[in-house]
Symmetry: C2
Subunit: 288 residues, 2 copies
């Protein structure tokens, strides 16, 4: 997906949010805003939004001398999500279609995002409304068919906290299926994206294989990923990609891929004819 | 009021909105965004937001070669508001406290703003909810006392469309009182702010004196105003200032002034302990 002009003010707003999380020094905050403003004329809109966001966040981290401003927020997200885990597990087990319920919860968990979204969210109410509503973009039947014939799945995680929902989803995927699921997290902290430390802290490694992607982009930019990740991407039967960053970076790539996300802004929502905040389960690439 | 770092992404977003209203040429749209980005490091945060917004919009109008991109939107706002006028007049006349109802409607009309607000609004539902709710910031008792002893009032208008609500409010103010009300509109088109053309098209001139302020700021920046406006500002018994721009530019000025606005963003809402979208009737300056 290309970058829209609408993304430029959003990068600017995100830079301010991350800068404030990194430092209380208003002089440094202003310095970051000016630096990001000066970068804007150099951004080609032909590249994907996360490729630009990566440059913006790198500038924030360099100038504030803080390379993980959302460290504490990520920890809290993991703890909050873990506290919900037993209840969510029961909801999945008790539902008419446990796989669909686990899909919906995986999407609801994508609300834990400190990047693009403007509106505040309340996790409990997002979970409730996502479970109670049909998917706004619904390729669940195609996903269900695809998963039944898959053996090897690459699972591209998105955010801290959200990976607890991923853990629940992966447990449900593997319950009655012989699936080999490899979860990919970011190499280094970027926004509140999940890293190996987050995966370990929520016990995802005990359930399945977790690897890092070799990149600090808030997305999966294949050219930046490790050869292991790229090889898996092109060899697995199926890819599950969580979150808007992975959607933005991979929506034009050919693959047997399914995107699970909440639409965070009109740039993604409008072309898919859904509302901001809506739940999306969208097949892409080869299944189109 | 000084400018906050939060205002910088907002100027950027506003520039994009105005640019898109001015031209469909994406090359020019990008040119504007880059030009605004390049201006940002030069903005001193010690000045008020509308002083910066004025520079931003001037750049938009210069680069797009369109000095009134919201001309059609303003016309439609006036027509929509005029179509509601008879109904609103009856609501005021039938209410227990017609002055309070007219105050609330004057604030509801401030939702017609194409500048800072992010969320879309539906005018009819804003009117309904404003009438049904208490004012979130409520200096109505002070305002009521002040108006009873006033003879000369300066009324600083804000937006097109909204001036129909101002007309209704001024008619109510003058109904049983010997008041001399002078309405001030912007000298030149800026965003969707009301100019003399708008005042004439909604018949405000037939009701009271209307003058222009000598400035193209989306606010009342006294140093830019005509000597007539400045003289009136310092000599009248009372000033009524509509909208967030006038609040941002005059909240630190000494005067017997009352601000009527909907809070468009957290920068204004948070310090006043109200929510975004809330109705504010706030005394300022000498009445504090």
């Amino acid at each position: 997906m290309k970058t829209y002009l609408d993304c430029l003010p959003c990068f600017f707003r995100q830079a301010l949010g991350a800068t404030r999380a990194a430092t209380d020094d208003e002089r440094i905050q202003r310095e970051v805003m000016d630096a990001v403003a000066e970068m804007i004329p150099g951004f080609p809109l032909e590249i994907t939004p996360p490729e630009i966001a990566q440059e913006v966040y790198r500038a924030v981290y360099r100038i504030t001398e803080n390379d993980d401003p959302y460290r504490e927020a990520k920890k809290q997200s993991n703890e909050k999500a873990l506290s919900l885990y037993p209840k969510l597990k029961r909801i999945v087990a008790d539902s008419d279609d446990p796989l669909l319920t686990a899909c919906k919860l995986a999407i609801a968990g994508n609300s834990i995002d400190l990047g693009p979204q403007v509106e505040q969210y309340d996790l409990d109410s997002v979970i409730e409304s996502t479970l109670d509503s049909p998917l706004a973009y619904d390729d669940y039947p195609e996903f269900r068919r695809a998963i039944e014939s898959a053996s090897n799945v690459l699972y591209l995680a998105d955010n801290a906290g959200e990976i607890v929902f991923d853990k629940l989803f992966i447990a449900e995927l593997c319950r009655d299926r012989k699936l080999n699921v490899t979860v990919v997290v970011r190499e280094k902290p970027i926004i509140n994206d999940a890293t190996m430390e987050d995966a370990e802290s929520v016990g995802l490694n005990a359930l399945t294989t977790v690897i890092t992607n070799g990149s600090d982009a808030p997305a999966t930019i294949l050219s930046q990923c490790s050869s292991q990740v790229r090889q898996l991407y092109h060899s697995v039967d199926m890819i599950i990609a969580k979150g808007q960053g992975n959607y933005e970076s991979l929506s034009d790539e050919a693959a047997n891929i399914f995107f699970f996300l909440r639409a965070k802004c009109p740039v993604v929502a409008v072309p898919l004819k859904v509302g901001v905040g809506d739940a999306i389960l969208k097949g892409g690439g080869n299944i189109q």
